[in-house]
């Protein structure tokens, strides 16, 4: 007599055996007598039948197009690999282009800067009158000429007044020789 354990261990032999196989007899006898193993057999058959009747998946409508494109790319890649010099690193043409670009860059670096001839610009004559009115009369202090003998007589001209106003304080002097401060009355 077959036990339940033997039935379960050898179940695949039973399930996958042909109809007339003599080994089936003992299994069939056990199924008739054992409710538990009969249930096991029924559950498995029903489950597999449900799986087999299940809806079949369909491929995406563009599956063949995608595959065709992918294979085209594969072909192209294989062709590139077969082309001499095209695989791994630069081809001869690539090296030639790189060398040409390098030579151009070197030429640019070594060549002298270009001399530019700019158009001539007309300049106006300097103004004789001061651009800004000054509150001070611009002339050497009395006796200053002697004190500052190194100043030529024509040093002080009205046009120098703005320069006088902007000059450092220490260099300012009124006619009487008083010091004034810039910006103060």
């Amino acid at each position: 007599m077959m036990t339940c354990e033997e039935f379960l261990e050898g179940y695949s032999d039973f399930r996958d055996s042909e109809e007339g196989d003599p080994t089936r007899v003992s299994f069939l006898l056990h199924v008739e007598r054992c409710g538990s193993c009969a249930r096991y057999d029924a559950v498995l058959r029903r489950g597999v039948a449900l799986l087999q009747k299940g809806p079949e998946l369909r491929l995406r409508s563009d599956f063949q197009d995608r595959l065709r494109h992918r294979i085209y790319q594969e072909d192209l890649e294989a062709l590139r690999r077969r082309t001499p010099g095209a695989s791994g690193g630069f081809s001869t043409l690539g090296w030639a282009v790189a060398a040409l670009l390098g030579a151009l860059a070197l030429w640019e670096f070594l060549a002298p800067p270009p001399s530019l001839i700019l158009p001539s610009v007309q300049a106006r004559a300097p103004l004789s009158a001061p651009a800004v009115e000054s509150r001070y009369e611009a002339r050497p202090a009395v006796g200053g000429g002697a004190a500052l003998g190194f100043f030529p007589e024509d040093l002080w001209a009205p046009s120098h007044s703005p320069r006088h106003d902007a000059a450092p304080l220490a260099q300012r002097m009124r006619r009487e020789g008083d010091w004034i401060r810039v910006g103060l009355p």
Partner: protein, 216 residues
């Protein structure tokens, strides 16, 4: 590409000759179609694709459990077939060879997924649906019709397949859904017959244990 060249230009109308060539290819065995492709008839590859695309999709889907990924893996399978067909040993069955490629890709996918676990949107959606499903069953007076119940049962049984361990699942799908022989399964899974038998038996026991409360 698949239909870039023709073997012979027969008849006057090129479209007619292409159609007849395609019809002729359909009558050939796998090994003859393979030979045609190796002889330079690229249309033969299209024939191989149309013979196996849906079968492989269902096989891969049942193994990896993700429709989109299954489509990608089927594409990858055909690309490999295209690239390596010249290396195929023609004394073997083409179907076993192509299933081996697809099975290996599916196994790699599952391995990668276990290394980098990520939650698929489909899984979230499924779980979300599962969470809400009992509410539909609470009201006895508003029970779904048989068609709906069957569909739910179908989904549960398919989910049970996904619960099987990877190496059990592959063998189970190949035997129960693809109808492969033990020898073919051994070749596809690159194991021996004894391993196939023991894995299949365990897969069946596990499957029955999972679905028993649903289908009993």
């Amino acid at each position: 590409m698949f239909a870039r060249k023709t073997v012979k230009r027969e008849g006057v109308h090129p479209a007619g000759s292409a159609h007849s060539a395609r019809l002729q290819l359909q009558t050939l065995s796998d090994s003859e179609v393979v030979q045609r492709f190796l002889d330079g008839d690229e249309r033969a590859f299209g024939e191989l694709v149309s013979r196996y695309d849906t079968r492989l999709l269902n096989f891969v889907y049942r193994t990896v459990g993700d429709r989109e990924r299954a489509q990608d893996l089927v594409q990858e399978t055909f690309v490999r077939v295209y690239r390596h067909l010249h290396r195929f040993d023609q004394s073997k069955k083409f179907s076993t060879w192509i299933y081996t490629i697809a099975g290996n890709l599916a196994k790699n996918e599952l391995r990668n997924r276990s290394r980098n676990p990520l939650v698929l949107f489909q899984t979230i959606k499924k779980n979300w649906e599962a969470d809400h499903r009992p509410l539909e069953w609470e009201d006895e007076g508003n029970k779904p019709d048989d068609l709906f119940r069957r569909r739910v049962l179908q989904e549960q049984v398919e989910a049970a397949v996904k619960e099987l361990p990877e190496h059990h699942r592959l063998v189970f799908v190949l035997r129960e859904l693809e109808g492969r022989t033990y020898e073919e399964i051994a070749e596809i899974t690159e194991t021996n017959l004894g391993t196939v038998k023991s894995r299949l038996n365990r897969a069946r026991n596990n499957f029955a244990r999972i679905i028993a409360p649903m289908v009993d």
